[in-house]
């Protein structure tokens, strides 16, 4: 019996050691292989790992540290022997299965969060005026609008992207076993193989689908693993929906190519005011355009421009609207009305 207790205690220490290693950061592939081999050595190892992880979660949630005797090094250190003796004298009672299930359900719910911060997640950010395109590990492609941030958290069971702020367009590689999830503050979108974008605004998120199907639901703060069990909206090609704290707006039919032209580096304007167009250009470029004439700013324009080529838009204004452009230092372009009237400075 003493042997059994000793063996049990050794397995517990091994499991704890694995847990600490998992917790302290990303393991090398050799270490992960070692962990797999250890688990596959014995069901006792698997059981102990589950129990130690459950203990870890309980410690992380424990709220009564202040009620414990103060930690000092003066008190006697011979307690572990006592602990072992207790374990021997009290045989484990026969388990009733609901307890085990409780343990497992709680374990899985809590360990998910634990896993996501121990695995190597990757954060990708763009500055104002910067647009980035990249391929993700699963073959999916992402285009990040200026001033955006995503966090890529892929695992064996799901591909999770957290959109911190800004807008991102995804062309999702097919993987039926791992749903592709995008979670932002306001919305969650789930796709299997499709192209769509999620734009996080101040008080809402806008999800736009250019190809395939995406399930969208409000982000209720629950795990992104199970989005959309309530109030789910199914979007298909050329549809868009806005999700805000006030609820989900009706689905709109849109032209996906126009809406997401930015992901191709294009800006498409259909009857938008010069002021709005300027705002969009300024989002992409170091050189800022400033319109000093209110009538010109309110004037509607249409056209397709390269986002990184504000000069072409300025030239367009000069030829079509008769405006005059004037450089004000390296980083500002003033657009003035060519008329002799007193220019009125727009509030910024």
């Amino acid at each position: 019996l003493a042997d059994r207790v000793q063996r049990q205690s050794r397995i517990a220490e091994e499991a704890a050691e694995w847990l600490l290693r998992l917790e302290s950061g990303s393991l090398s592939s050799e270490e992960r292989a070692g962990f797999v081999d250890w688990l596959r050595e014995s069901p006792h190892h698997v059981a102990e790992m589950l129990r130690v992880a459950k203990l870890h979660n309980a410690l992380a949630k424990f709220g009564q540290w202040d009620l414990l005797p103060a930690g000092g090094l003066s008190a006697s250190e011979d307690l572990p022997v006592d602990v072992l003796r207790r374990a021997v004298s009290e045989p484990a009672p026969v388990a009733k299965w609901p307890w085990a299930l409780a343990a497992c359900v709680a374990l899985v719910a809590a360990s998910w969060g634990w896993y996501t911060w121990t695995s190597g997640a990757q954060t990708i950010r763009t500055q104002l005026g910067e647009r980035r395109e990249m391929a993700l590990a699963d073959g999916s492609e992402v285009a990040l609008a200026p001033g955006s941030e995503i966090r890529v958290e892929f695992s064996g069971t799901r591909r999770l992207i957290r959109l911190g702020y800004g807008e991102a367009f995804f062309h999702v590689g097919k993987d039926a076993n791992r749903p592709f999830l995008v979670a932002s503050a306001h919305a969650q979108a789930r796709a299997l193989g499709t192209s769509f974008s999620v734009a996080e605004r101040a008080d809402a998120a806008v999800v736009t689908v250019t190809e395939g199907k995406v399930a969208v639901s409000a982000n209720t703060g629950r795990s992104a693993e199970t989005p959309g069990t309530d109030a789910q909206v199914a979007l298909s090609t050329n549809q868009q929906v806005t999700v805000s704290v006030r609820g989900t707006a009706p689905v709109r039919q849109i032209d996906g190519r126009v809406e997401l032209a930015w992901s191709q580096g294009q800006l498409v304007f259909d009857n938008e005011t010069v002021a709005d167009v300027v705002l969009r250009f300024n989002h992409y470029n170091q050189m800022k355009i400033r319109v000093t004439d209110a009538a010109l700013a309110a004037r509607p324009v249409s056209g397709v421009f390269r986002a990184t080529d504000p000069e072409s838009f300025v030239a367009f204004l000069e030829s079509v609207a008769g405006a005059k452009a004037r450089k004000n230092g390296a980083e500002e372009m003033l657009i003035e009305s060519s008329s002799a009237a007193q220019p009125e400075v727009l509030p910024r």
Binding site: S29, R32, R40, F62, W97, A100, A103
Partner: protein
């Protein structure tokens, strides 16, 4: 009714891990471990609910966070943990407190207590093992 506890779940997870492609497991071992455990638990809850109508209700109680039963269960688990922590040697308890209550990493704990990192890690591992053996009896009582 088959009694299934963590050992039974672990047995099944163990078998699945043996059947599973090793190189696949190595990619994300802990994710597979928890996913498999969750699957086994879910499958058994389905099977059991067919036999036992009570089990399904019991499960619902689990998911709704704030029912009196789960609240009671959570409190009693917290109490068990507190008792087990009280039995730890003071230094081990202090290491755990600094880590979980103050969020200190091993290095910072070592500095705070004037120990080496190695000793802190050793202390943590022993603390887990000691807590596990104290809680074992109470785990399923």
């Amino acid at each position: 009714v088959a009694s299934a506890d963590i050992d039974d779940v672990a047995q099944e997870v163990f078998l699945r891990m043996l059947r599973y492609d090793r190189s696949e497991l190595v990619q994300h071992p802990e994710a597979y471990l928890y996913k498999m455990a969750a699957n086994v638990a879910a499958e058994w809850s389905m099977r059991s609910s067919r036999r036992q109508p009570h089990a399904a209700q019991w499960l619902e109680g689990l998911e709704a966070e704030s029912t009196p039963e789960t609240e009671f269960q959570r409190e009693s688990e917290e109490l068990d943990l507190r008792r087990a922590l009280e039995k730890l040697p003071p230094r081990a308890r202090e290491v755990l407190r600094l880590h979980f209550a103050e969020g200190l990493a091993h290095e910072a704990i070592a500095v705070r207590l004037g120990l080496t990192r190695r000793v802190v890690k050793r202390e943590m591992i022993r603390a887990y093992a000691a807590l596990r053996s104290t809680l074992q009896a109470e785990d399923f009582s």
